[in-house]
Amino acid sequence: MINNILRGFIYFVVLVLVQVLILNNIHFLRVATPFLYLYFILKMPVGSSQTNVVFFSFLIGLVIDIFSNTPGMHAFACTLAGFIRHPLIQLLMGKELPEGIYPSYKTFGYGGFFRYTLFFVAIHHVTLFLIESLTLFDPLFLAIRIVASVVTTTLLICTIEAFNIESQKSGD
């Protein structure tokens, strides 16, 4: 239990700092920005209560918002993504997953984890960019931005996951 909280806390701080100090400045070809901090929500243990997932998703979204001067936008998208996380896992992986495991290549399989990441990231990004473009609407450019960012974020998360020592140990 304590282990779980400590693990979550370290993930939270490291991912927020990486996001606001480095990744927020990336703007590949002026369209794509990776949002790696979603990795925190993706990696919560499978059995954790939905209330916790929704609350912590909101929290990390709010912290990212405060740093990047976009109050509410990331928080809204993250809360929605956190809310659909449980149904999404059930839909993709079936209901008989053991409780308490962390989503990873080992537990979900390569294809499974990739699909899980892709759908999760897509839902978050579509919400985020739609809210952001309430100020300025430009459908084609919006679509390009969403697709490019989804691809970058998914690739980045899958790469990080492949090098994550913790998930290689814990799958056994």
């Binding site: 400045n25 929704v54 405060i66 740093f67 001067n69 952001e132």
Partner: protein, 280 residues
């Protein structure tokens, strides 16, 4: 009754979800107001200091470019000084000395400035913001203009004790009244949300004469910027739908992607001008 309670407990994540989404939407909505809350912005104590540490580190990366820019600017100013001195000499020689004339020393130039470092900057969003490391303690107030050594940057929107948030030209909320250098007709400059190097100058009357490459400067009507500060240069133009106005594409003089030092312009007459404009 028991079943109802059971239901409510079982579905409690639904209520939490709806509550949190409402909170987020309220934040989004409030963010659209011009003046925003200090607590949820990068000007609050914690985020401001983290940003200033990272700004401190990254400011070393561009020293060579900044140095070259300063040298260039210094050279330009020196040339200007020499030219003006030359003109002054000539006028002195031409004019009959009239000792009764003294310049009015009570009349001050109303603008002064504060130097500030950029600690947080974004060009990637649709609404971008810049955080700088000077705040209320340094005399910065909302609605002051911000310029870099190359041209206009934006307007101060939120101020805390040691930091302030600037709304740059790269934000659809910011509209700047501009004119083509040498003419006195003005239009409105706004950003199209795509490229951090370009903005559009709209509502410029059809009969204004200009050429590609002409300089766009501030009009000075707002009391935020003095008139004649460089904004950018014309790279393209087209007629607007209603045919009476031009829409110009302007290449911005300020490079927002490599912004390090800015000057915040104070105008001690701004409050007075605002008051009389609102009264009338």
């Amino acid at each position: 009754m028991r079943k109802l309670l059971d239901f409510l407990v079982r579905k409690r994540h639904w209520f939490l979800f709806i509550l949190l989404e409402i909170i987020s939407l309220m934040l989004v909505y409030r963010n659209n107001a011009y003046q925003r809350n200090i607590m949820f912005s990068s000007a609050n104590v914690i985020t401001g200091h983290i940003a200033s540490v990272s700004g401190f580190v990254t400011s070393y990366l561009n020293l060579r470019d900044i140095n070259r820019e300063l040298l260039e600017r210094n050279g330009q100013l020196e040339m200007e000084l020499l030219e003006l001195q030359d003109q002054l000499e000539m006028m002195r020689a031409d004019t009959v000395l009239f000792t009764g004339f003294a310049s009015d020393s009570t009349e001050q130039f109303p603008y002064s400035f504060v130097l500030a470092d950029v600690v947080n900057n974004s060009v990637t969003h649709l609404s971008n913001y810049i955080t700088v490391n000077k705040g209320r303690k340094d005399g910065v107030e909302p609605d002051m203009g911000v310029v870099s050594e190359r041209g206009v940057v934006g307007i101060v929107s939120t101020v805390s004790d040691h930091f302030s948030v600037v709304i740059p030209l790269l934000n659809p909320k910011f509209k700047l009244s501009c004119k083509v250098l040498g003419s006195s007709y003005f239009g409105t400059l706004s950003w199209n949300g795509r490229n951090a190097r370009f903005a559009n100058l709209d509502e410029l009357p059809r009969h204004v004469e200009f050429e590609l490459g002409d300089t766009i400067v501030t009009s000075g009507y707002s009391a935020i910027f003095p008139s004649g500060i460089i904004v950018g240069k014309v790279v393209n133009f087209e007629k607007q739908h209603d045919d009476n106005f031009y829409s110009l594409e302007v290449e911005l003089a300020t490079d927002f992607q490599a912004l390090n030092n800015v000057r915040i312009i104070k105008n001690y007459r701004q409050a007075e001008q605002k008051r009389i404009e609102q009264g009338g």
